[in-house]
Amino acid sequence: MRLTCPHCGSRGLEEFSYRGDATVQRPALEAPEEDWVAYVYLRDNPCGAHRELWYHGAGCRAWLVVERDTLTHVVHNVRAVCREETP
């Protein structure tokens, strides 16, 4: 698998580390506990399109939002998380 880092270009999987679902949002400090539990522990874990966070640790150190299919491993889009529009 390869990811096209917006800063570094197409690079092999071994340069990156994975975090997981990019759609979960850290709740406010005072949010209800179930929101926190959901943020820390619960995941949609879809079979198919998945928005996820990767870290280019062996490259530019950017955190990336990757749109990837979890069934086919086809990568549809990669962008730096800093450029991400907050929903």
């Binding site: 698998m1 092999g12 580390s17 997981g20 679902d21 820390v40 522990y41 874990n45 998945h50 979890t70």
Partner: protein
Amino acid sequence: MSGERYSVFSLLRETLRGHSGWKPAWRKAVPQKTYDIVIVGGGGHGLATAYYLARRYGLTRIAVVEKGWIGGGNVGRNTTIVRSNYLLSGNIPFYEQSMKLWEGLEQDLNYNAMVSQRGVLNLLHNDAQRNAAIRRGNAMRLNGVDAELLDREAVRARLPFLDFGNARFPIQGGLLQRRGGTVRHDAVAWGYARAADRLGVDIIENCEVTGIRVHDGRVLGLETTRGFVGARKVGLACAGNSSRVAAMAGLRLPIESHVLQAFVSEGLKPFIDCVVTFGAGHFYVSQSDKGGLVFGGDIDGYNSYAQRGNLPVVEDVLESGIALMPRIGRVRLLRQWGGIMDMSMDGSPIIDRTSVAGLYLNAGWCYGGFKATPASGLCFAHLLARDEPHEVARAYRLDRFGMGAVIDEKGMGAQPNLH
């Protein structure tokens, strides 16, 4: 109900008549309108659950629905290792229960799954690992589980071909569980299927669940590709796909699906007599009764439902393998494959009720599901039959994540790919 008892006598009798009398190991059941309990997932855990429901809890109207062929999930694609060498009190009694069931499995099922207690040896390469192993070994012993600490020379005596001369991370010793070992994985599924079938369980293959019918917070049955199947209780035992199936009932789980690769070499004259795990990298190996080296390493580390992995992990596994056993450099890799793991948020499984009445969950087995098969089946059957957790599976509750009562053997936190 299919066939006669297996024994050396029946085998000889059938030999004389050209094996024409063997019956199917399990019937190709068609779905009935309704069952008391339907298990989703005809893998090791689902089949074992059905078997124990019928055998130990006396229930009869039971079906197992399987989207493909039984035993096609992780029970058919693992590295066959069984062990109960855990650290935490939530885990040890459960896995030890499993080990005890393995020890009597063949007589219980009348099926030879080749449970081979050839020992599981975890290698230790530094003081910190040794200290952690002593803590774990002592926890095992206090739980009545066998464990032995070996020094470097004892390891060398047993496995002289490991790298004792030129290793980057020299072997200091090992923690050995003699009762651990390997089991012929496919046979576990077939053995449970055949035994359950003989007790009247319907095993329905090629029957994919497409929906879970819930009314007023209570489960009514399953929509499947072979029609609606009514059920008083539904047990999900479809690790790898737990999130997908649970989502049909509106549940969100503390689980990610990840791919774990496994490997087998060409067949060799046996020289490894136990399961060995490398402590300085991700690598574990045993040698099958056919002679192939069966080995694996770490998960690929990204969410996946594809039963295949990528090259970096292949390389990582073999780097560790050769570092451990330099003599296998010219041995060849025959086949690699991948399985989908339910990676839970603390690395430990879930056997519990859900927020939907009548819907029960058996999930989150990470890469430890195979060794758990008998106890998982027993404990899930207990929960389904009695509506309360089996005593050795009390810790495996679904709400432990929210409460913070996690069972985190590796101490990696809520990051599934690090467990």
